[in-house]
Amino acid sequence: MNTVLLIARDEWRFWRRSKLGAAAGLLALILTCASLLATINQVRSERETRVALQSEAEDTFRNQPARHPHRMVHYGHYVFRPPTALAALDPGVDPYTGTVMFLEGHRQNSATFSPAYSGAQAGPFALLTPALSYQLLVPLLLIIMGFSSVTREREAGTDRQLVTSGISPTTIWLGKTVALLGAATLVLLPLIVGTALSNASGLISFGFALLYALYLTTWVLIITAASAWSQRASSALLALITIWVTLCIVTPRLLASAAITNLPTASQIETDMEVIVALRDVGDGHNANDPAFSQLRANLLEQYDVDHIEDLPINFRGIVAQTAEAKLTDVLNEFAERRMASQMAQSHFVNTLEILSPFAVLQSASMIAAGTDNQTHHRFLREAEATRFQFVQGLNRVHAAKMAYSDDINRSSDPDAERRTRIDPENWRVLKNFKFQPAPAAQRLTQLAPNLLLLGLWMILAGWIGWLGARRLVEVSRV
C-alpha cells in the first residue's frame, strides 16, 4: 500500500514539474469553479424571481376589475416553474423547454420562451453548464494529465527497474491510478461544494455527487488502462482521444438522431390540426346555438321542467361553456398525453442504448437527480393543466350561476345588459395558488439507480481492462 502511495506521490511531483500536467489541472479547476460561480448565483436569483413572479401573477389575476367571467377565462394566468436546487449545476432541459406557461381557456399552450430564442449562435458547446464541463471537458483534461502515466515508465525503461526491485506491475498501475484519482477528486471538490451549498436534500446531493464520482473514476480507469496497454505514450493518446470522441461526442448524438429517425414525433402544428378536427364534434363553447349542445339543452329543460332556456334558473351559456371546456379538455389531454408518451418513447430508446457510453448514462441520470429532466417537465405540464382546468371551470360555474341568460345574450348590443354581466371581482378567488415541486427525492433516486449500476459496471470493466494491461506489463518487462 505504501508503495502505491509512493508511486502516486511521484506522479504528482511529475505533474508539478511538467508544465503540461499542471496547466491541465489548473485549467480543469478554473473551468469548473467558474462555471459553478456563474450559475449558482444566477439560479438562486432566478428562483426568487420566479417565486415572486408567481405570486404577482396570482395577485394580478385576483385583483382584476369587475367584468364578464368569460373575459377572465381569456385573460388567463401565468404559472412559473422555479428552478430546482440542483438546476444551478445541471439545468437539464430547462433552457430548451422554457419555464413559464400561459394558461387560458380552450387552449393548452406550451411553455414559452426558451433562452435559446434570442441567444447568440455560438456553436454546439455554447451552453456550457457545470454539468457539461464535468461530463465532457474534465475527462479530456484528465486524459491530458494521465495518458502517459504508465507508458512514460515503459519508454524510459524505469518500469523494469521498479519490477526488479520487487514492485509488481500491478502496484505501478495502481499507483498511477491513485495519483490520477487524486487529481479527479480535487477537480470534483467544487461540484461537491456546490451540491452542499444548494438547498437540495442530503440524499439527492449524495446521489448527485456519487454519479459524478463514479463517472470520473471510470475515466481515470479508462485512462490508466489505455496507458498500461500501450507501448508508447503517443498510441495511448491516440486511443484515448478516439475513445473520448466516440463516447462523449459521437455516440450520444448518434443515439439522439437514431431515436428521432426511428420514433419520429409529430410536430406541434400537425397535432394542433388533428386536435381541431377532433374538436369539430365537441362544439364551440362560445356558441350556445351550436347543434352539439341541443341534447344538453333538452336535458336541462326537462330537468327544470321549463319550456324556454330563458326560464332556466341558471345561465345556459355558462353551462355550455362548462360542458364544452370539459369535453375539449378531454380531447386536448388525450393528445397532450400522446405527445408526452412519444417523447418518453424516444428517451426510453436512448436510455436502453446508453449503456454504450458512460457519458450518456451520466447525462440522463444527472438530469433526473437535479430534477431537470423531461419527465419533471411533463409533471409541470400536467400540474399546470390541472390549474388551468380548475380556474377556467371555476369561472364557467360563476358564469352559469351569477348572471341572467337574457343579459348574457344581449350584452353585445345592450350597454345596460353588458354592465350587469360584469360580476364582482370577489369571484376571481377561484384561482388556486400554484406551487410546483419535482418528484420526491426517494423516487428520483430509485429512478436513477439503474444508471448508478451501469456506471459501476463501466468502472469495473475499465478497472479490469487496466488490471489485465498491468499484468501484461510483467511479461513485456520480462522480455
Binding site: 496547466a23 373575459r71 458547446f125 455554447a126 491516440l238 410536430s267 353585445s412
Partner: protein
C-alpha cells in the same frame, strides 16, 4: 511529385491514417444522408400541413356569415421551406420557429410560438455535417498530424531525414499536406456529390468547399508549427488539443456570455405579456381609447371608425392591432438586438476557426439567425397583407361575401432579397 506519391503510399499503408480517414468519410456520409432525410421530411411536413390548414380554413370560412367571423376563424400556415443546402447544417432551425399557424389576431401574441421536439434530444445536440466539418475535423487533423516528427525521432530517422532532404520542415510539411488533403477529401467528397445533385447555386457550393478547406488549412499550419517546435508527440498533441479546446469551446462560450451581457434584449415573454395586458384591458376601456391610437396609424378609416355597440368586430380587430402597436418598440428592439448579437458573434467567430466554419456553413444552408429573421419579416409582411385585406370589409367599405373571400391572400414563402 515523386515525394508526394511516396507520401501518399505511406499514408495509405498506415492503419491509423486509414482509420481516421474512414471515420471522417463515414461520419460525413451519415450526416449528409440524415440531413437530406430531414429536409425531405420537412418538405413533406409543409405539404401535409398546408393541405390540413387549407382544408380547415375552407371548412371554417364556409360557416361564416360576417367579415369579423371570417377574419377571426381563418388560420394561415406560414413556413420557411428548407433551402437547397439546408441539409448541411441544422443551425438554429431546431431552436427557433420556422413554421407558424397564424390568424388576424395580434401578431405579437403568435409569432414567438416555438414548435420544438423532444428537449432531451435537443439538449444532446444534432450530429450534422456542419458539426463534423467544423468541430470534429480539427480533432481528426490533430490525430493525423501530431506525431509526424516524433515518430521519426523515435525511429531514429529524424537526423538522417533532415540531413538527406536538406530540410526537415519540408519533409514534414509534405507529409502533413498529403494527410490533410486526404482528410479534406474524405469529408468534402460526400458533400460535393450531394451538393451537385441538389439545386444549390455553384457560388454557395464554392463557399462551403472553401470554408472547410480553410479549416483544414488552419489546422495543417497549426499542427506543422507545433510539431516542428516540440520534440515529443504527446506534448504536441496536448498543445493542439488545448488550442482546439480554446477555440472550439472556450471562445464561443465566453464570447456568448459577454455578448449576451453587453447587448441586453427585451425578453420575448415581456413582449407577449405587455401585448396581452393591452389587448385584454381594451375590453374594459372606452372604445375611443382603442380607436384613437388605431386611427393614428390608419387615418384612412376615420369616417368608418365610430363604434356604437358594446361589441363590434372592427373595434375588436382595432385593439388587436393596437396591442401590436404598443409593443412594436420592444419587438423592434428584440429584432435589432438579435441582429446586433449576431454581428458581434460573427466578430468573435473570426478568432475561432471551428465557429467560423460552422457559421459559414449555416449561412449558406440558410439555417442561421439572419435567415430566421428573414422568415420573421416575411410572416410580418403577410400578416400586414391580411389586415389590408380584411379591414375594408370590417369597416364596411366593401361588403362581406363568399365571393370577396376568394381573394383572401394565401401565404407564399418570401424569396431571398439579396
Amino acid at each position: 511529385m515523386y515525394s508526394t506519391i511516396r507520401e501518399l503510399r505511406f499514408a495509405l499503408n498506415d492503419s491509423v491514417v486509414v482509420m481516421a480517414l474512414a471515420i471522417a468519410a463515414i461520419l460525413a456520409c451519415y450526416t449528409i444522408w440524415t440531413g437530406s432525410e430531414e429536409s425531405t421530411n420537412e418538405r413533406a411536413l409543409i405539404e401535409r400541413v398546408t393541405a390540413l390548414v387549407t382544408e380547415d380554413r375552407e371548412f371554417a370560412l364556409a360557416e361564416q356569415s360576417d367579415a369579423g367571423g371570417a377574419a377571426y376563424y381563418a388560420y394561415h400556415f406560414t413556413y420557411q421551406a428548407p433551402k437547397a443546402l439546408s441539409f448541411i447544417s441544422r443551425g438554429v432551425r431546431d431552436d427557433l420557429p420556422w413554421k407558424h399557424r397564424i390568424r388576424m389576431l395580434a401578431l405579437e401574441g403568435q409569432i414567438y410560438e416555438t414548435d420544438t421536439g423532444n428537449p432531451e434530444l435537443s439538449r444532446i445536440g444534432k450530429l450534422d455535417f456542419d458539426f463534423v466539418a467544423a468541430f470534429l475535423l480539427p480533432l481528426l487533423s490533430i490525430l493525423l498530424l501530431y506525431d509526424l516528427k516524433a515518430a521519426e525521432i523515435r525511429n531514429n530517422r529524424w537526423e538522417f531525414l533532415s540531413a538527406t532532404s536538406g530540410n526537415g520542415l519540408r519533409l514534414l510539411s509534405n507529409r502533413a499536406a498529403v494527410r490533410s488533403v486526404l482528410l479534406y477529401l474524405s469529408i468534402i467528397f460526400p458533400f460535393a456529390i450531394a451538393a451537385v445533385f441538389s439545386d444549390a447555386s455553384s457560388a454557395s457550393i464554392k463557399v462551403a468547399l472553401t470554408a472547410v478547406a480553410l479549416n483544414v488549412f488552419i489546422w495543417f499550419v497549426l499542427a506543422l508549427l507545433i510539431t516542428y517546435k516540440t520534440e515529443s508527440g504527446p506534448t504536441a498533441a496536448a498543445l493542439l488539443l488545448g488550442i482546439w479546446f480554446t477555440t472550439a469551446v472556450a471562445i464561443p462560450v465566453v464570447g456568448k456570455l459577454v455578448i449576451e451581457y453587453t447587448i441586453p434584449l427585451p425578453k420575448g415573454g415581456e413582449i407577449l405579456l405587455a401585448q396581452r395586458e393591452k389587448v385584454n384591458a381594451a375590453w374594459d376601456l372606452p372604445k375611443l381609447d382603442t380607436m384613437t391610437p388605431f386611427l393614428k396609424q390608419h387615418p384612412e378609416w376615420t369616417n368608418e371608425a365610430t363604434v356604437d355597440q358594446p361589441f363590434e368586430w372592427k373595434w375588436f380587430f382595432a385593439f388587436q392591432q393596437v396591442g401590436d402597436q404598443t409593443v412594436a418598440p420592444l419587438s423592434q428592439a428584440l429584432h435589432q438586438g438579435t441582429s446586433k448579437r449576431d454581428e458581434a458573434m460573427h466578430l468573435v467567430s473570426l478568432t475561432s476557426p471551428s465557429l467560423y466554419t460552422s457559421r459559414t456553413l449555416s449561412q449558406i444552408a440558410e439555417t442561421d439567425i439572419a435567415s430566421f429573421q428573414r422568415y420573421n419579416r416575411c410572416v410580418r409582411r403577410f400578416h400586414a397583407r391580411l389586415r389590408e385585406f380584411h379591414y375594408p370589409m370590417l369597416f364596411g367599405r366593401i361588403a362581406y361575401s363568399q365571393e370577396q373571400m376568394k381573394l383572401l391572400p394565401i401565404f407564399a414563402p418570401c424569396e431571398r432579397l439579396t
